[in-house]
């Protein structure tokens, strides 16, 4: 009787790795240990573990954890090539930073997630920065805080502050200029409506401008280097409301009309103040910085008030 030699499948480690890689390609979301076991039942646990570790160390496999257990996923070829040549720690840090997306992550958080000592982290970060894999972005909320993110990512608005900040400095002149321009636009529109001498309803309606119109006007003016969205213009118009120069109403608009957001449109109109500067402020006492210290017979009194003397001679 011939001995049936059950030909054992080659337990060549490379074959195991390739099989695992093929399995990963089959299941792009990731495969569990169970799946590998099912596919290659003859492979022993140790060999399987060795193959997986090798793939991980080479950087071709990603180890993830989900609620059921561990998942192995094929790593993107490009990103695999990037971290070639870095050691495990660097890869770990890089991974953490990548996960943070475009909000960036702070050094302390990296330390918590990776459990590496601070000195190591700093060395690794410097390394990665020199390799141009990550970059540091200063946060506008706390000026000393630096967050790290991948090199080619655009930082999120909450970090840089959006259109009003350039290099972490609030651009007040820019805001002022925009403020003036919007106000002038609305004011001229209101005046044109008033001079048209039509029926009052038409007059009022034509003095309104939608936020979309203002946005278009500002874009065409070209005073802004940065692209401004309609929300930015609306924040500027809100400051005009708080200056008391402009009022706003909201009307319902059909979906799809230009400039409407969720079926509403905001209309703005230049207005005049309802009273002249009040009587109290025409007197030096109304504006006096030492008003509370002033009484008859004291150091500061109406009789010897310097401000009053100057004002009376005016």
């Amino acid at each position: 009787m011939t001995e049936v030699k059950v030909k054992k499948e080659s337990t060549d480690p490379v074959d195991i790795e390739n099989r695992i890689k093929e399995l990963c390609l089959q299941f792009p979301h990731g495969i569990t240990d169970q799946v590998i076991q099912n596919d290659m039942p003859h492979v022993e646990v140790q060999q399987r573990a060795m193959a997986i570790n090798r793939l991980l160390s080479v950087g071709q496999l990603d180890l993830l954890k989900n609620s059921n257990g561990l998942l192995y996923r094929l790593k993107d070829a490009q990103s695999a090539s990037k971290v070639k040549g870095s050691d495990n720690q660097e890869k770990l840090v890089y991974q953490i930073i990548e996960d943070a997306g475009n909000k960036g992550i702070w050094t302390r958080d990296i330390r918590y997630k990776s459990n590496l000592p601070l000195t190591e982290i700093n060395k690794i970060l410097k390394n990665l920065e020199s390799k141009k894999l990550i970059k540091a972005v200063k946060s506008v909320a706390a000026s000393k805080k630096k967050v790290y993110m991948l090199y080619n990512l655009q930082p999120d608005r909450s970090v840089t502050g959006g259109a009003w900040y350039s290099d972490q400095d609030f651009e007040s002149e820019f805001v002022e200029v925009l403020n003036q321009q919007c106000f002038k636009f609305l004011q001229s529109k209101a005046e044109a409506a008033r001079d048209s001498k039509q029926s009052p309803m038409v007059q009022r309606n034509s003095s309104f401008a939608t936020s979309h119109e203002v946005w278009k006007y500002i874009c065409e003016l070209g005073i802004s280097k940065v692209d401004l969205s309609m929300e930015d213009i609306e924040t500027i118009l809100n400051t005009l409301i708080f200056d008391g120069k402009v009022e706003m109403t909201i009307i319902a608009a059909k979906e799809g009309t230009v400039g409407s957001v969720d079926g509403q449109m905001k209309l703005y109109r230049g207005v005049n103040p309802i009273i002249q500067p009040t009587g109290l402020v025409k007197i030096p006492c109304g504006l006096c910085p030492v008003f509370d210290d002033c009484h008859e017979g004291g150091e500061i009194s109406p009789s010897n008030c310097v401000y009053m003397a100057e004002w009376l001679d005016f």
């Binding site: 403020n179 400051t239 009022e247 006492c285």
Partner: protein
């Protein structure tokens, strides 16, 4: 009564009535209610002086008296109405309003009654006619009937009203029934008297007498001034005294403020409509109502037709524009009669007070602080970060401005703790503005300011007393010389007694005093707006 109010009352009383009345008045304000004996004892003045001062104050309606705490059997107690004293600040405005509405005659009538406090109709008419005749060219004189007609117009529109009769006056003749005196705590409202606005039936015919310049003029205001009994016979309306209805004037001022606000915000035609609406509901709306009576669009249209023929649809458009305006001056309450509209008085006053507060902050601290202030008024409660974001002001500057406003008490801080111990790191700090307390604060500032202005005026006058006396003497000499027909050379010689720098000094003094006077009136406008807002808010609570 706050310190500032007492101080202002004292200054006003001193200026109008003299030192004695001022002493009595301020003491009475400070103590609240006092009997005559207590008052005399505490002010250490002789009893008859105190009596005369109280007479003056009662005559002008500033002091009321009544049965005291011990009931009708005990001594009478007196108290001062501070609000009435503050009305003295506003006399020029009342007179000016009467002039603009009813011409010179109206102006003089109101001026006379303000000066005297209470007057009968016949004496008023005679005095005013005499004054008008004095200013007219030779040969003409003012007829009593014209003055009477203006007087009756003033009464019809409720600018003048009868003084409320005192219960004791009716029973003085018959001693049989002792009608109880009104309790001091409840002064009789003039309007509760049914004949408040009824003109007495008197026969006044005649014309004003021209006064020769050599005759003495009316006695000037001195400390213990009583109503001067006329030389003429007692008129038929003895005992019926008239006083100025301050409340009516205040309503008029309030209407004026609302109309001017509407014309600033919208346009002239809208303000005309609001003016018509207010005029139509002048006498029907109670004093502190939040809304006027509802008026239908048809009525408004008919009333407007008398002014300018506005087409009906245009009127409707204007009314709907007024209703839609965010300031909410006019509201629509129904659809009958083409739409029922009311003027939102309380809302309008609140808006005006708010604009006043904003303008004070703007002038005092700058437009960016004003932006923060308005932002907090609209959004009620905000954290510091949110304030910076909404106002688009750099963080450092915003912080600085907020703290400055906080130190001036215009902005308040509200703490909301996250944990029971108010640990600063775990508490929300919200900035907020409360309109009513801030208005009260500014009102006190205004009172202090007016006090300062009056004191400065007195100081300036005192400093230059010598110069003023000299110039008065020179003028008297000049007048007498002119009367006796002196030559031009003598006149110039006398005039040159005042040197040029002295003349300049006099000129600048006059300029200063005028400026201080007019600024008192300006601050009074602010006082009026804030006070009406505070009263209206309290009445609506």
């Amino acid at each position: 009564m706050t310190t500032q109010e007492v101080r202002l009352c004292g200054l006003l009383l001193q200026e109008h009535f003299g030192n004695v009345v001022e002493k009595v008045g301020t003491h009475l304000i400070r103590s609240g209610v006092l009997t005559l004996r207590a008052l005399a004892h505490e002010t250490k003045l002789p009893l008859d002086l105190v009596k005369k001062s109280l007479c003056v104050l009662v005559q002008h309606g500033m002091c009321t008296f009544g049965a005291g705490r011990r009931g009708p059997a005990g001594p009478v107690e007196y108290r001062i109405n501070c609000e009435h004293v503050f009305h003295m600040l506003r006399y020029p405005r009342y007179i000016y309003t009467a002039k603009s509405l009813y011409g010179d005659t109206g102006e003089l009538i109101v001026e006379e009654i303000l000066q005297r406090g209470h007057m009968t109709m016949s004496s008023t008419v005679k005095t005013v006619a005499d004054r008008l005749t004095h200013n007219m060219p030779e040969g003409q004189s003012m007829d009593y009937s014209e003055v009477v007609s203006v007087f009756s117009q003033l009464v019809e529109t409720h600018f003048l009203q009868r003084c409320p009769p005192l219960a004791s006056a009716g029973s003085s003749s018959s001693g049989a029934v002792d009608t109880p005196l009104p309790v001091a705590t409840q002064p009789t409202e003039p309007e509760s008297h049914p004949d408040c606005y009824k003109l007495p039936y008197i026969n006044l015919t005649g014309q004003g007498k021209r006064r020769r310049s050599s005759e003495d003029g009316e006695a000037d205001q001195c400390a213990a001034k009583k109503a001067r009994t006329d030389n003429s016979e007692c008129g038929d309306d003895d005992g019926i005294y008239w006083q100025v209805n301050f409340q009516r004037f205040h309503l008029h001022f309030r209407d004026q403020a609302i109309i001017s606000a509407v014309s600033c915000k919208l346009d002239q035609s809208s303000s005309e409509i609001v003016r018509t609406m207010l005029r139509m509901s002048e006498v029907t709306t109670p004093a502190h109502a939040a809304f006027t009576q509802a008026l239908s669009a048809n009525e408004i249209f008919r009333a407007l037709l008398s002014r300018s023929p506005d087409a009906r649809p245009i009127l409707d458009q204007y009314l709907s524009l007024l209703v839609d305006d965010p300031m909410e001056f006019v509201g629509k309450t129904g659809d009958s009669g083409g739409g029922m509209y009311v003027v939102n008085l309380h809302r309008a006053l609140a808006n005006l007070a708010r604009a006043t507060l904003e303008s004070v902050v703007q002038e005092r601290f700058g437009s960016r602080s004003a932006r923060i202030f308005r932002l907090l008024l609209r959004k009620r409660h905000l954290e510091q970060k949110q304030v910076e974001d909404f106002a688009m002001i750099p963080a450092k500057e915003a912080k600085d401005m907020l703290y400055k406003l906080l130190s001036e008490n215009l902005v308040q801080l509200q703490e909301i703790p996250k944990t029971p111990d108010y640990a600063p790191s775990r508490t929300f700090y919200l900035y907020t503005v409360n309109q009513l307390p801030t208005a009260r604060l500014l009102l006190q500032h205004c009172y202090k300011t007016v006090g300062n202005l009056i004191e400065r005026r007195l100081y300036e006058t005192k400093e230059n007393k010598r110069l003023l006396e000299k110039s008065q003497r020179i003028e008297a000499i000049l007048a007498s010389l002119q009367a006796t027909g002196a030559e031009a050379a003598q006149l110039t010689e006398v005039e040159e007694m005042i040197t040029v720098p002295e003349r300049q000094q006099l000129e600048s003094l006059r300029h200063h005093i005028n400026k201080l006077d007019s600024s008192e009136n300006q601050v009074d406008e602010t006082i009026f707006l804030l006070k009406s807002y505070i009263n209206s808010t309290q009445a609506s609570r």
